[in-house]
Symmetry: C2
Subunit: 110 residues, 2 copies
DNA sequence: CTTAAATATATGAATATTCATATATTTGAT
DNA sequence: ATCAAATATATGAATATTCATATATTTAAG
């Protein structure tokens, strides 16, 4: 349907397009974390963390390392951290628009 | 459910997570383009282009400028172009993984 | 070999996205 | 006022994602 490369890039961005997955990635920017670490830091249940990690894993965004019964995850590429930083800059540049949009989102959540 | 900021960031990345929208953005990196321009360059029908532009517009990624009956679109922030560039670097760093994944995608498209 | 801890996967109902088709709106020209 | 060009929006069936619950798997310890 589309060029495979564009399809692939879309998959990459789609993988970033989820609040919990973003929080996970932000945690991993600070360094390797086990599933339990993430679970504790984010206050969500084990299954949810594993499910979202699985998605990040299949998109090659995140990389697992087994150690005993634990699995430690890390970013597969430091550029991912840069990307998140750049995104943060974009959001900051448009804080006013952002607020307007958040308001709109909130209103439509009846 | 989630922190609004993370929800918002997720919306942003989700907006990038679509092949046609990525192609549109790549076109706009080169400068302002009308809907007709885009339609011609991408070889898709008018409605599809407008639909995807609408999504990019509501996410504040893209900005319209009316001129007669035409509407010209441009990136709302030059950092968007940088973001796409950075993403490209990430893909290049992982070309081998990428190929593996594309293969997997192709296989699962039975 | 049993058990417990840590992680992963399966399932499916609810929700959201996609995309094609049809229709509406807006603007400039005659 | 009418028409045509350019763009936008509405609709809905098909498809994909989300997320909670239940179950599997893997590994180390006893």
């Amino acid at each position: 349907m589309y060029q495979p490369l564009h399809q692939f890039k879309a998959e990459f961005f789609k993988a970033l397009g989820h609040p919990l997955r973003l929080v996970i990635l932000e945690q991993l920017v600070a360094g390797e974390k086990s599933v339990t670490d993430l679970q504790a830091a984010l206050g969500v249940d084990q299954s949810s963390v594993s499910q979202q990690l699985a998605i990040l894993r299949t998109r090659n965004i995140v990389e697992p390392r087994k150690d005993g019964t634990s699995v430690f995850y890390r970013l597969r590429d430091p550029l991912i951290a840069e990307l998140l930083d750049l995104a943060r800059s974009i959001f900051n540049n448009h804080l006013i628009d952002t607020q307007a949009m958040l308001q709109q989102l909130a209103t439509s959540e009846t």
